[in-house]
């Protein structure tokens, strides 16, 4: 009975860990969705800026103020932003891959523990 209780509490612990990981997966997924839509929006802006004539008037909204911005500067800023988003996306992808790996390990652990528990139950019944 004592060893079974131990296995049980171990199992509960691992299950709780997996649950926490799933929460993290959810968070990262949200980040990914967010980054993705940011990327799409910035790409559209990048494309539009590239279509403008060199002397076109461009403004940037900062807080409540629309301030004139040099077209080249605007292009530079948007491309910097896109680079940043792309690297963030790579970071979240890596995080996700790592998390999936960890989850896989934990799931195996759960299966092992469940098997152990069944065996212990059998032994207990025989005795």
């Amino acid at each position: 009975m004592g060893s079974m209780a131990k296995t049980k509490s171990e199992l509960e612990k691992v299950i709780a860990e997996v649950r926490d990981m799933q929460k993290d997966v959810g968070k990262i997924t949200n980040q990914q969705i967010n980054l993705n839509s940011q990327l799409t929006e910035n790409r559209l802006v990048e494309q539009e800026l590239s279509l403008l004539k060199d002397d076109a008037e461009v403004f940037k909204l900062i807080g409540p103020v629309l301030i004139k911005q040099d077209l080249l500067e605007a292009k530079g800023n948007v491309s910097k932003r896109i680079n940043f988003i792309t690297s963030e996306m790579k970071r979240t992808d890596d995080q996700m891959a790592l998390l999936e790996q960890k989850q896989e390990t934990k799931r195996k652990q759960i299966m092992d523990l469940q098997m152990k528990l069944q065996e212990q139950a059998k032994q207990g019944a025989v005795q």
Binding site: I62, P64, V65, L66, K68
Partner: protein, 132 residues
């Protein structure tokens, strides 16, 4: 705030009406605290935006007019006037933030007090943590 009192509890601590009122009070405070927290975080972002606006305005040419957001429209405004308005808004934002921060601190303080009292009586059989 569901299930503050734990089920299948061994202890036979009697819950009095006074305890119940404390639990209600705690729950109210928690709600108000979370609202203030959200408000403060929005204000903080807004303040940052206005800060950025000040910085950009400083860099703009003196004789240049900027377009200032008014309602859904923009109004052409002299740079110094825009700067003045931005500063006024910033002061106002800071004021509301300080106001809310004070309220927030008060809630936290009252919550800590209630927590101490309730935990002293119910120990582990009550859960007053803020995240499930």
């Amino acid at each position: 705030m569901s299930g503050m009192l734990k089920k299948e509890d061994e202890s036979e601590k009697n819950v009095t009406l006074e305890d119940q009122q404390k639990i209600n009070q705690f729950s109210r405070l928690l709600n108000e605290k979370l609202e203030l927290q959200a408000f403060l975080s929005v204000r903080k972002d807004l303040h940052q935006l206005y800060d950025d606006a000040s910085d950009e305005l400083m860099l703009a040419a003196d004789n240049e007019k900027v377009q200032f957001a008014v309602g859904d429209a923009f109004i052409f405004t002299a740079k110094d006037e825009a700067e003045e308005t931005v500063e006024q808004c910033k002061t106002e934002i800071v004021r509301t933030m300080e106001d809310s921060q004070k309220k927030y601190d008060n809630k936290v303080e009252s919550m800590t007090q209630l927590k101490t009292e309730l935990y002293a009586k119910f120990g582990n059989s009550i859960n007053l943590e803020e995240e499930a």
